[in-house]
């Protein structure tokens, strides 16, 4: 009887990297191949964007409130209570907002895409699409990755606005500041170099979330257990990618703007 071949871990890892590069190449090849699925793209924007708004809104609001409540005593001790709107806006728009919203989207969207495509794999729907002569990458992957790349930045901007509004309400719990004065301070403290790099990195967050979700779903195994594994690994991997992209983005932003 032939002995079972044991593939070393590093070879499996290299093989997986190769598969991911191949999947990425397939995505770009199909993106520019023509025959874009507009209706599926719009449906995905609705599913990914609109259906995540409530979760993103609530989380951002709470983050805005909590940050003000946590910052206030320290800022008062430094005699810098008037700096609270500026501190919140810069930290929220530059870093906290995009990363928190990215992580929330990874949890909600990457898992949902991973589970949906994993379940299509298990029930042979991907194979059915393939053997019918249709292109599953064109129909399923391209619209999803583009939708996440567009909707995560939109959600991030929305989350920033709601978080800053939450900060305004929290500030008014103990102090009194008018809506006009608060947002004048917020807007005055933000400039192009705060907003644009944050927006650009959320495009990459969205791309990573969509790509990881699709890849994990497409490469899941046949059993029903693999659907859960696909969803779970999609969340973990996408979350990790968000921190990696964030670290790279900070370096690039520092070089370009500061």
């Amino acid at each position: 009887m032939a002995e079972e071949i044991v593939v070393p871990g590093y070879k499996r890892w290299l093989g997986s990297i190769g598969d991911q590069v191949g999947f990425l190449v397939d995505f770009f090849r199909n993106l520019f191949a023509g025959g874009f699925e507009w209706s599926e793209f719009v449906r995905q924007c609705y599913e990914i964007g609109y259906r995540s708004m409530l979760l993103v809104g609530i989380t951002s609001f709470i983050m805005g409130v909590v940050l003000i409540l946590q910052l206030r005593p320290t800022m008062i001790s430094f005699g810098a209570a008037s700096m609270l709107p500026k501190t919140l806006s810069v930290s929220f728009v530059r870093e906290i907002g995009p990363v928190i919203i990215g992580i929330i989207c990874a949890g909600k969207i990457a898992s949902s895409i991973g589970a949906e495509l994993g379940s299509m794999k298990v029930t042979e729907q991907l194979d059915a699409m393939d053997v019918s002569g249709a292109n599953p990458i064109q129909y399923l992957v391209v619209p999803r990755i583009l939708a996440t790349s567009i909707m995560v930045p939109v959600l991030s901007v929305l989350g920033d606005a709601i978080g800053l509004f939450g900060g305004f309400l929290a500030l008014n719990l103990r102090d009194t500041i008018s809506f006009k004065l608060y947002f004048t301070k917020v807007i005055a403290s933000l400039d192009f170099s705060d907003f644009l790099p944050a927006l650009v990195k959320t495009i990459f967050f969205g791309f990573a979330i969509g790509f990881v979700g699709c890849y994990k779903g497409f490469t899941s195994n046949r059993g029903t257990e693999s659907v859960g594994i696909a969803a779970n690994t999609a969340v973990v991997t996408a979350s990790l990618w968000i921190f990696v992209i964030d670290a790279i983005a900070v370096q690039i932003t520092s070089l370009l703007f500061y």
Binding site: I5, E124, Q125, D127, A128, V131, S132
Partner: protein, 260 residues
């Protein structure tokens, strides 16, 4: 001469008939498990060939190699005279349009209604634009499988038999020349199984399709087959018409037929 060698000799190309699928010495293994061992087979135009075998005997792997879903480890698979292994993506796509594949589960796209499932290959594969023609073809194919009333239902609202018939309709909507059925009656009650088997015959007659039917359902084999091949542990061990095999004294063959 062994039984397998006799079958291989019988499978030598027949000049008088048009062969649509020709498989020679096909090998496929997963890890150290050899699933298909030098399989040879040919399917004539208009023929319904049933491949009988126990679970895990390699039946589904065989038809997945025919459509290029799995790559064989050795041997050749020719469909309409073209070697599947040597095809480009474009050629493989063109070939797949000519082959209908009914999956065991029906494999309906569960985010789409039955109508959208039928429209999908017409708009994405055949690239039809005329909505009138699309509607006409969808209505006709659903009528042929008796599912006209289910046109706007979601797959989750369909019974097992209806899902199979809807899956069948989706493959038929593009008028394939070859049909590959993977366990078409598995999981269905005897009456629905019989209806599906009779549907396979009516498709063969009406659409002039050539078919390979993978099954372990003897009633389906009896109704739908022109010829039967028995696959045991990755090798064809017997070939003949259903009635010939029914009379066989071979223990392996008899073990299938004793249950009916």
């Amino acid at each position: 001469m062994t039984e397998q060698e006799t079958i291989k000799k019988k499978q030598a190309p027949k000049s008088q008939k048009e062969v649509v699928i020709l498989i020679r010495d096909l090998k496929k293994a997963f890890g150290d498990k050899e699933v298909l061992k030098d399989i040879s087979l040919e399917l004539d135009k208009g023929e319904n060939l049933v491949v009988l075998g126990r679970s895990g005997s390699g039946k589904s792997v065989l038809i997945q190699c025919i459509v290029g879903l799995l790559k064989p480890d050795g041997g050749s698979v020719k469909v309409f005279g073209e070697d599947v292994a040597g095809m480009s993506d474009k050629q493989l796509k063109d070939l797949r349009i000519r082959i209908g594949f009914l999956f065991q589960s029906g494999a309906l796209y569960d985010s789409m209604t039955v109508r959208e499932n039928m429209e999908f290959p017409l708009t994405r594969v055949l690239k039809l634009k005329d909505q009138g023609e699309i509607d006409k073809r969808v209505a006709a194919v659903l009528e042929s499988v008796g599912l006209s009333d289910a046109i706007d239902k979601m797959p989750s609202d369909l019974s097992g038999g209806m899902r199979k018939r809807a899956g069948l309709a989706r493959t038929l909507v593009v008028d394939p020349e070859i049909m590959l059925y993977d366990e078409p009656t598995t999981g269905l009650d005897p009456i629905t199984s019989r209806e599906i088997s009779e549907l396979i015959i009516s498709i063969q007659k009406k659409n002039k399709t050539s078919s390979i039917i993978i099954t372990h359902d003897m009633e389906c084999a009896r109704i739908a087959s022109d010829r039967v091949l028995i696959l045991t542990d990755g090798e064809f061990t017997k070939e003949g018409t259903f009635d010939e095999l029914l009379k066989s004294k071979d223990k392996n063959v008899a073990s299938y037929f004793n249950i009916i």
